[in-house]
Symmetry: C2
Amino acid sequence: MEKLTVIKVGGKIVEEETSLQQLLSDFAKIDGYKVLVHGGGRSATKLAEKLGIETKMVNGRRITDKETLDITVMVYAGLVNKKIVAKLQEIKINALGLTGADINLIRSEIRPVKEIDYGFVGDVKQVDGKKLSVLIQEGIVPILAPLTHDGHGNLLNTNADTIAGETAKALALFFDVKLIYCFEMKGVMEDITKEDSVIRHIDRERFEELVKTGIIKDGMIPKLQNAFDCIHAGVKEVIITQSTDIQGLNGTSID
Amino acid sequence: MEKLTVIKVGGKIVEEETSLQQLLSDFAKIDGYKVLVHGGGRSATKLAEKLGIETKMVNGRRITDKETLDITVMVYAGLVNKKIVAKLQEIKINALGLTGADINLIRSEIRPVKEIDYGFVGDVKQVDGKKLSVLIQEGIVPILAPLTHDGHGNLLNTNADTIAGETAKALALFFDVKLIYCFEMKGVMEDITKEDSVIRHIDRERFEELVKTGIIKDGMIPKLQNAFDCIHAGVKEVIITQSTDIQGLNGTSID
């Protein structure tokens, strides 16, 4: 199978002009098939502020009422996504911006209300890897905004990490998939106060040790569990690294 | 060649919930390949107002400074386009929302400054009918937002009528194209005060007569000239009709 890289980048790097240019130029250099998944939360919060709409976050997730949904659609599918697409076209990358509603790519279900009502937030149910792979094999580079749809006419705000993971899994049937998660640190750190303490490789066994010893804890546990789920579902390698290293050369490799 | 219908609908019909539902259900009923081109000006003006940004229009065109461009991108490519896509997916139409930047579909040039500086407004230079026809033949239904790009990383606000016309021309190489322009009247009227005075058919000769006698005048002249340009470029039929008649059964047929 041919190689494909799925890269998830957070909001900050795509929302500032200079870091975005660097990111896209790095992205252009990646060999083989590729998919970019982006965030845009900071811009959404900024637009909400300008419109006098209060932003409510719970566990890092945006409570998405009707007005907030419209804001995320405008910012993620419009402003952020199309700016990336236009800039990639400038450097001859045949980018195509997509939400999960386009070509029915990602179906989700509105998150059930338990302690918290997240509103129009979707949990991913199905990614159409077949349809996406056809586009990719035509030379198209999909740029995915963190929005999905429920099949009943509703767009749903959806976590970009989840979209990246589920898309990587769905594409693993058609390609040798490497999934790169970019975040604010250099990788999984032995000691977060020491820049040079990146743990370069983690397998399932090492993961369990690191959790036992307390080196991996809190939000890092679900992040890594998600990575192992992807590996289990056929993704060849997951790399956790920082946004300046989207080729994943210096991060933590998980398999 | 197989039949394809390009339909251009204005802002109002896609911006109101009930008329949008009716439009999309009518759109679903159209046989054969199809493309929808939409506006969204009213929503853009509304968002600008909420953000305290003044809307300036000259000859019906929006003066598009940097802030206004962002608004059009958010509204056209985000809010309006993705709402249409999600609602079409609900009724099993395999919609794909596109701007001219996506897959480098529509290249434009920023409009030269003469008496008026329109800002980030694009004049269409090239539509990639080949790439679009490949998607269409895969069963994808393109939904085009009125935005293009200049190939230098800039999105440009672009007239939806022009996008519909140029797209119809580009697709005429691959399909038997019918182009339907929906606007506020029933068609080209013999007497705009009389509802039943729709002129059902206009060819080049009749057009010249109608201009001479003053029945066709003002903004209607360029509209019809544009229609004849499309016919000249290989589009089989252009229909001018109202938004409640997107099948073009009761409007003015131009060939």
